[in-house]
Symmetry: C2
Amino acid sequence: MMPTTTRVPHRVFGTSTSGNCHKVRLVLDILGIPYRWHEIEIMRGESRTPEYLAMNPNGQVPLLQIDDHTWLPESNAILCYLADGTRLWPGDRLQRARVLQWLFFEQNAHEPHIAGARFTRAFLKQPEHPRLPVMIQRGYQALAVMEQHLARAPYFAGEFSIADIALFAYTHRADEGGFDLAAYPAVRAWLERCLAQPGVSEMPMSH
Amino acid sequence: MMPTTTRVPHRVFGTSTSGNCHKVRLVLDILGIPYRWHEIEIMRGESRTPEYLAMNPNGQVPLLQIDDHTWLPESNAILCYLADGTRLWPGDRLQRARVLQWLFFEQNAHEPHIAGARFTRAFLKQPEHPRLPVMIQRGYQALAVMEQHLARAPYFAGEFSIADIALFAYTHRADEGGFDLAAYPAVRAWLERCLAQPGVSEMPMSH
């Protein structure tokens, strides 16, 4: 008789207070995929050690370990990989492109400013940093684009998808970067819809 | 008899000297997909008019018009859409994730710095801009990650793919941002391999 093969759970190297890492936790929790979480203290340089750089030369979290010699970096690529073939990743070509549209929006128009402001204020503790006003201005521009979309649609790309998960991660902690969502009612209602999804949890506060 | 339906060619709203737009041209040319190019002068505000914002609320180029009421923004999402089902987009789940890994790397670790430095120097004509040293430093970090990968593999994700096209766009004009590729021989050899692919052309210079 062949022995039953036990599939090794995915390992995630991540920082629990990082939105990019929290995204990965959310997808795993929503889909009920078993995983082991290895906490990485980026502020102590644990993502820049030789051992870590051998797994991810770009020195960032999160990192998904798929097997003993396969690692996947880039939070949104991890989301696509984990969601592939599930209800969180549409089968239709145009809908898939819409998910990707918002995933790239998140990385170039949202995360640098909304996560950047949070990191500067809540982690670096530099509320007078000269880049902060630009981050705040551009972060509000991203929120305005989201508000316009969510005023007409419940989610970013049809049904609830990894596009929502990616944007939820830093948006629901935007207050820690100094953003006020009072003028964005559609965004706030969408955050509540996301939180009502089974498996979705809030990210730990920065302190 | 039913009339023969003529498929309307895709329309691209783009700026020829923008790497994000040039990527889209490259994929269309490589795949031999007919298209009409509508030149947008971003420096004259043509991507911020009410008509343009109605098509793309985020006010950016490039924008792919799929039909009379369907527009797709975000250069790398457009690449994924156009390459879907072709040799430029792998069928294997992990290989697809690798393509996405490098597409997200391009948008968060490469384009903001390498394209940002080029835009600051060659378009804004602000060689003394206070952000430029940070862009140069982080751009070289991205080039180092690329060099390390390309020293071991001919392309970013197995065969030539949209990951190569996305990274080619700004890398082959990095000199306009003040980057010197002399210390990156694997990157330079990869640029030559990309240029040898049928359909791949250089982007017009900034001046």
